[in-house]
């Protein structure tokens, strides 16, 4: 036993780990809980989410209705649980598709250089001329209301940031010697880009994806709040807040779905920060 080794007080390692990754673990637990909720909402919810019961409208939280009921007497708790499905599904769809598209485009631009790069990057600059929510709003309104159309609208405005990041990452990797070595060996461009450069540039992309998931959920909830997201009566957090926005004394209708959004977004923030610290020890403890 090394009782004389000062730094190793009992539990010191665990404390250090908690300091470093405690919040990330907490965020991960929150996300995991919401993920399970989304999958199991049908089994967990005490009432069906769309069951209208006008006689029971606007009941405060009680043993029967944990989070109260809304204007149509629907169970707010059940609707919050089911709302996780839409929010998580949309968040993941938008960010994963946008990151794939943006990364490919940015990677190709950086690897090709010349006019290809110039053209591709000017297109991304053009999308950056608009605030995301304005452009997404205009497109979503023009396409017609519905989750699929809103996702398409968000995709249009979402990919450029990944294209920019991927481009800068690939440019910095290109200068590395292992790329020159791969070229000398005779690997093709696609192989070098996908099998050599991409794995080395993946870290920052994963961090952005994680942090961005919360962002996408926020923007979708905002569009939904404006009536440009889901079609009623689908349970969705943003539209639930919208339904309860005038009900100041029946605060539970709008408060709980908002808290759900807040918890998911904070969760993704914690996880994203944790991954960044883990990948980049230099930036740790900033």
């Amino acid at each position: 036993m090394s009782a004389t080794r000062l730094p190793n007080r009992p539990g010191a390692a665990r404390r250090r780990w908690l300091r470093r990754y405690g919040l990330a673990a907490l965020g991960g637990a929150v996300i995991l809980t919401w993920g399970l909720t989304a999958l199991l909402a049908g089994y967990v919810a005490p009432h069906p989410p769309d069951l209208v019961n006008v006689a029971n409208r606007l009941q405060p939280p009680s043993a029967a209705y944990w989070l109260g009921t809304d204007v149509l007497g629907r169970d707010v708790f059940a609707r919050v649980l089911f709302g996780a499905r839409t929010s998580l599904a949309v968040g993941f769809t938008v960010v994963i598709l946008a990151s794939l598209f943006g990364t490919i485009l940015g990677g190709v631009a950086a690897y090709a250089r010349g006019w290809v790069e110039e053209a591709l990057m000017r297109v991304t600059d053009l999308i950056f001329c608009f605030p995301p929510i304005i452009l997404a709003m205009a497109i979503a309104a023009a396409l017609g209301i519905g989750t699929r159309n809103t996702v398409i609208a968000m995709l249009v405005v979402w990919w450029p940031k990944f294209a920019r990041l991927a481009r800068s990452l690939v440019i910095s990797q290109r200068a590395q010697e292992y790329v020159a070595a791969a070229q000398v060996i005779g690997f093709g461009s696609a192989h070098i880009l996908l099998r050599q450069i991409l794995p080395n540039a993946l870290g920052p992309l994963i961090v952005l994806v994680t942090l961005d998931l919360g962002n996408a959920i926020l923007v979708f909830a905002g569009l939904s709040f404006l009536g440009l997201g889901v079609v009623p009566p689908t349970a969705e957090w943003g539209s639930m807040v919208s339904e309860g926005r005038e009900l100041v004394s029946q605060w539970w209708v709008a408060t709980f779905p908002g808290l759900a959004i807040l918890s998911v977004v904070i969760g993704f923030n914690f996880v994203g920060d944790g991954i960044r610290d883990w990948l980049d020890p230099h930036a740790r403890r900033r």
Partner: protein, 337 residues
Amino acid sequence: MLRYFLSRLMAAALMVLLATLVIFLIANMVPGDPVLTQLGDIAANNPDMVAAFRHRWGLDLPLWQRYWLFLTGLFHGDLGISIASQRPVLEDIAQYGPATVELSTIAFLLSLSIGLPLGVLAAVRRDSWIDHLARSVSLIGVSAPTFWLAFIMLAVFYGALEWAPGPGQISASTFPPPEVTGIMLIDAPLAGDWDTFQDALGHLVLPSIVLAAGTMGLITRTTRAAMLEALSQDYIRVARAKGLTRRAITLGHALPNALLPVVTLGGLAYAQLLTGTVLTETIFSWPGLGRYTFQSAVTLDFPAIMGITTVVAAIYVIINLLVDVSYAALDPRVSRR
């Protein structure tokens, strides 16, 4: 420096022009039809009415011709006529613009005056309670949905405590001051009407806090990170060794070097505030551009959408340009690339 500025200005103008093409194509290639949203049910079923409507708004012309009309109008300072309001889009923007400028400027000043000192303090007293406070506040600021935050603020400070006035720019019982700038906080004192000034200021409190929350979080985070970076540099150690006070080191040595990323973020944040008021304005019944944009988008009011997005893109590009130029001014190496 001038050459640098001019070349950037040309590039920016070209960007805005291309951006109008993008928004034009998007707005016109989607399936939405303004006939259905603008005409009533009865009129929309009458082919003559529909044809007349299309002809009136040029919707029967080929795409390139419509874009050409838009461009020639743009160069004559004419953004066309809004289908919904039947007024020139430029007049609409001039009417709703000041309220948005007022709200977002106050929100920007608020987020800067809290975020900057909080970020500096958090970095100087790292891991203290104020650091934890700064990090929690900025985390909630960037993570909370604006529209929900607005609801909570209204429910607590207007509904329950009655500390703040409700939605709207001024109370219904207050007469708006004669319009000079359209900005209440300027027009009311100009008319010597301090009661209205107070009323308008009161109505600004809640929406500006809500709008500022996200920006303040970003500014706090960026300032804190930039200050930590600056404080770990060698010249700080030198300054300490010379025996400078902590205050002189923080404000005189570290802060100026930490400001560059904050300037970039600040510019972007202001652009985002100016153009990102849709949700806040909707909830607080604020008569600004955000609500106008939203109305135009859902009614497919093409001239209004084109006009407002052109203006928005111009604001975005110009602020980005100013940020770049201020960079060049702060750091002479930039313009001598």
